[in-house]
Symmetry: C2
Subunit: 112 residues, 2 copies
């Protein structure tokens, strides 16, 4: 496993945004947050693990609901403040029961 | 055009994360930030317009580089702190010249 870039998580309280995309369909499922521990656990276990900003704790996606995310790849963006996870999602990603958290349309184009 | 949800941008300094996805390929291109003005301008002009946290100003993606993003749809997530924009990207999305800002692999799975 590659070491994390030096400019990632310079402080133990640093968070990066984690975009979660279904690997098979390309559908964007959710946005979550990771600290160093969450990213390290995710890379070690291949189970998507995040930092809850509201509860201030590590959470394993699907630990309660069973709707786990098996991580297939992780990419870092050019300025090291966002991650893209490609996952195999079990069940719906959203706590509302929707497939994706992005289920409320603000603008719909002619292509949709 | 639908009015913005009441719990979105309750303060004039509120920002939401904007995930940008290429509409045709499904490739995730970048993560940017929007305040109310940036989202309103984006919806009015269909040209992706963001809030720069480092420069504290509105920026129209591609205004300098020509690498504009024509917005086809916008969705809001379940807890109103992230947006998903589907765009038609002209040229590379990343300032490095890469197609996507997510071009640095931290973990590669067996599927890749």
């Amino acid at each position: 496993m590659e070491p994390l870039p030096e400019n990632l998580f310079q402080s133990s309280t640093d968070l990066v945004a984690a975009i979660v995309q279904e690997a098979d369909t390309g559908q964007v499922l959710m946005l979550a947050w990771m600290n160093r521990e969450a990213l390290t656990l995710t890379m070690e276990t291949k189970m998507a693990t995040y930092w809850s900003r509201s509860r201030s704790e590590i959470w394993i996606k699907g630990a309660t609901s069973g709707n786990i995310q098996e991580v297939q790849s992780i990419a870092l963006d050019c300025d090291s403040d966002a991650l893209l996870l490609k996952v195999k999602q079990t069940g719906p990603a959203c706590h509302t029961g929707e497939v994706t958290c992005f289920h409320r349309r603000l603008m719909t184009g002619s292509m949709d």
